[in-house]
Point group: D2
Chain length 345, copies 4
């Protein structure tokens, strides 16, 4: 940690800061510049409390953290890549994993038709919402338990793994029973009560980046789950909120290699929410494969215009099959690169 004092901080203020640092058990390295004093703080363990305290101390201009505030999720903690197993798929390993399905589970017919279609085209995991976070209280809120049961049925029929969203720490046990992976949506990325509950549950968690969350905050939320006992976290870039309105969100695709430098956790991309527009999804999916994401999660609906939610960004089954075929040569390059990387370790 580095403490930058104000240009005209008094000797008393500087001494007081040094004493405070000592009280926390850290060592002080004071650097006297022409204009101001800068203090280096060295020590073991989390400096957050000390940092916050110093920021509030008279004479201090800024307190800057040098080391990362997360631990278990960092590359320092674990080199290479973690592999998270979901119904036999190894996410983060040598396989590019496609997750696909409707925004919401709407009926048995809809979910079965979709499951069979996406499985035939090469998806490995079926997505589908039973609890839906909707901006409006008047929108369809999901089939809840009934939806979970239909997802299980679809799994039995197709062998696909199941991923579905969880919205409350109350529902963790119930949702865990029916699914292979629990999705935390963007709006709940900092629902800390939920994150803690998921930490106490063995099921893999797909953690979506909040729409205005930094990459560091995403990692801190992952750290919550891991620190509470569940190491099986998959990260998901799904677009952030910016001033641009041509797309629903702005896909921060560079977050994929940034995360690969910072963490061992797998990173997938959601081109459906990132763009909000069906026609853009195949191009963005190619880019996601090329940049090295570990998989994709894509919205697919047998009849998007009759979807209860997110129809505009849903591919039809035919669209999805076409995209899967178009992605093949890119996935081949992806596999070669991944194999080289795993061999090099």
């Amino acid at each position: 940690m580095i403490i930058s004092m104000r240009p005209h901080a008094t000797r008393e203020e500087i001494d007081h800061v040094c004493e405070r640092i000592a009280e926390f058990g850290y060592k002080v390295h004071s650097i006297e510049g022409e204009e101001r004093v800068v203090i280096g703080v060295v020590g073991i363990g989390d400096v957050t409390i000390c940092l916050e305290s110093l920021e509030a101390t008279p004479g201090v201009e800024r307190a800057m953290r040098i080391s990362a505030p997360y631990k278990f999720v960092s590359k320092e903690f674990r080199k290479g890549r973690s592999i998270i197993k979901v119904n036999g798929c190894e996410i983060g390993g040598g396989e590019f994993v496609m997750m696909a399905g409707p925004c919401s589970v709407e009926s048995e017919k809809q979910i079965m038709e979709t499951a069979e279609g996406v499985a035939a085209a090469g998806a490995r995991i079926l997505r589908g919402g039973a609890f839906k976070p909707r901006t409006s209280p008047y929108d369809f809120q999901g089939m809840e338990l009934e939806g979970l049961k239909l997802l299980r049925k679809a799994k039995q029929r197709t062998g696909l793994g199941i991923i579905t969203e969880i919205m409350s720490d109350r529902d963790v046990e119930m949702v865990a029973e029916y699914t292979d992976c629990m999705q935390v949506g963007a709006r709940n990325m900092q629902n800390f009560a939920l994150l803690k509950s998921l930490g106490g549950c063995g099921r893999p968690v797909l953690l979506k980046r909040g729409m205005s969350s930094t990459i560091k905050e995403l990692l801190m939320s992952a750290e919550y789950i891991v620190a509470h006992g569940n190491p099986n976290v998959i990260l998901c870039e799904r677009g952030i909120r910016t001033f641009e309105t041509a797309t629903r969100n702005t896909c921060d695709i560079a977050a994929v290699p940034v995360l690969n430098e910072l963490t061992h956790l797998p990173v997938i991309l959601d081109p459906s929410h990132a763009t909000g527009k069906r026609s853009l999804i195949p191009a963005l999916s190619r880019a996601a494969v090329a940049i090295g994401a570990d998989g994709l999660i894509v919205e697919v609906h047998p009849c998007p215009e009759k979807a209860f939610s997110d129809g505009a960004q849903s591919l039809t089954l035919a669209d999805f099959a076409r995209m899967m075929s178009e992605l093949k040569p890119y996935i081949r390059l992806w596999k070669e690169a991944r194999a080289r990387e795993l061999a090099a370790v």
Copy 2:
């Protein structure tokens, strides 16, 4: 609702859209322009599902909502201003209400000292967190039930109303028992499970704007609470996330008059989170009074550098007293303007 077709939409596509609209029970007004067809949709009730369906229909370029997606919180539903009573204070009425207190409840001594100090300076409601949403799992997470008990004690001693944050739908009953107003933090503004629970509880709710939420989304979240049965919602602007890093957030102060045009609910401002910097709070508080907010919620700590959280943005008790005195003439102007407005209705 207005549907704008693509420039080269076919006659079949246009007819199909018109049929879909009719299926939803709405009337169609087709306008043939030089370049494209635009379709006006007229009908009663919520158009969201129809809108989403049409957005996903071939040939449609855009579907635009004309009427507001919220109802109970709108000025159309109720003219004038709603008054929400919190421990005898009338928020939204003729009084400018000051809420103040520490970020976290840390000890009996700390909360009592603060409560007495802010009460003496003119605050009417004591804030203090017992459940803390912290970015890091390693930060202080709050005293929980113990903290709630201390808040009740502080109320008994000072007569101040109590506001505290609620983080999970699991805790609604417990928190409601100890407080006069339940605060939904920025990170939970779209925790819909929580919003629904608060709708079923009689206690007033202070709903903070999410850091990347639009004003419309804030109103939709308020609508959730009201539609589920609780009309006692107070809105709070607390800064939004932008590219600027000189302040912790960017205070969207114009949201106050914008909200006053759109809703009858009271609107307060949180200058502490909006700026993140103690020295900026008095100036921003003056602006909040002048622009017509219904109150302020401010972080105050007897010794900010020993605070467990948010010290850098906490006023000392002396700072707070000085600010209250400086605000007096502005609050006088506020009261005159409010009295004129209420008399004019």
Copy 3:
């Protein structure tokens, strides 16, 4: 400057960085932490080149500037407030200065009627564009020289000072001849060729913040003008671009006190561009006075619906007169506070 090395930087990399720092003539303070080495760099003069070089050097994780990158505009360089004189008005002094007028000069009748109206209501400076930065090449681009002549005529008639926008370094002499203050629009805040030209010209400059510019960048652009010879710079907050669409821009009102902490230059606020909506301007103007801005620049048009540009955010003459009257008690408080401040120095 602080250099944070990567956790596993080699001894050679660390030594190389230290040598590079020495080559630049700075002193090195190395701090060995548990995880990484952090190097403090102390020296006189601008560190930018050294900082950029080190950022590109192997083993370096981050190079952080501690001291401000601007000099002449900083509070370190000059305590207190600079007063910039514009046609006899002292901006930054004991008077709150109102600038008002149409977006574009459109005709003699229009500009005269506006000038007389705003002067009667208490404005001291007339704004009006002769060169218009319009997003579309098909929009009205301004009356150019003819417009400048009409502004001069309006000055002769009313005694108001004149402020108008300059869009190219080619036009500096011509525009300077006709006006008392040259406005740099948000889109040109980093048009460095223009800033340099304005540095060589004696006329005061009103520098508007770019719509995605940080406060630091605004100060750097002011530094350009001052470093090139012209100390007469007035800063203007006019709203920044964010995700919120309820207003044209998001007014970063806290930028006013932030700037007052960092610079001695005056700061005014433009509520018209900040909101884009006539009905919000009076409330935001009250807030601007209360927060301590040195003045306002407001769009006023005799008949907004016939304006060639920005009609929706233009006040009528009657609106403006009403607002001026409403602002009076706030300006009285402003003057008292300013007088106390100036007396205290």
Copy 4:
């Protein structure tokens, strides 16, 4: 254009709006809803002035444009893709074009070494700044004319085309004489005086997206150049400004397919400015090829740590050669897809 009246607009207000529309020569289609009146406006030609006027008219809530505000750059105006020739390269055609070189021209040795290195690795166009837009007046401002002469020399030696930045409408002739393509930097995307001058010049223009500019605004700036006579415009996505600080900017990679839907102009991507970090450039470059950009512009320096600017985001010559080799299979897929597309037309 669609005019949405306020819910309680009076009959007089509605009639007045209809009269205003008629005055502009457009036809009115009035739709009476339950809550409000919506008016469709049909006519030929640019509606901007009418739209702005109506927005400022009493009783109007919103005026929404339906048709695009640009013409010559739109897909409506010209199907397919425009090919822009730069020193024999066909940008937008069947070749993926790599532009590479240093941020600034610094010396003959530096530019020659770079030119030869990037040419050997497969670049077709040499980038290098002679006029530098620097945030600080104290930073290196470029070699100006001397730099242009060195670029010409590098072209003579290597046969590479030359692209360099232009910062003032004053310099158009001089810069055009020395270069094959004139680059408009992000900060000048809305320097309309410069855009108009470039419209009067035959040279191709690379127009970079402003850091807070929407895709629509980028197209409007292109329209300026084309409408003023120069159809040779290449667009460039280079990252936008958001709250995320892990990268210098946030690469809006989806802008590439969005632009391909809206315009016939070629679109390239700048991974150097988009990320600001050397290590991320190869991954983002792969993504740019996969998503269908027409080329890349990349910063390369023989010794980044001695670069006068942007060293941290510059590749070494060896990095660049490695990346070019890694991109080969992706470019092969790109060429196959492009060939299929061109054959299909």
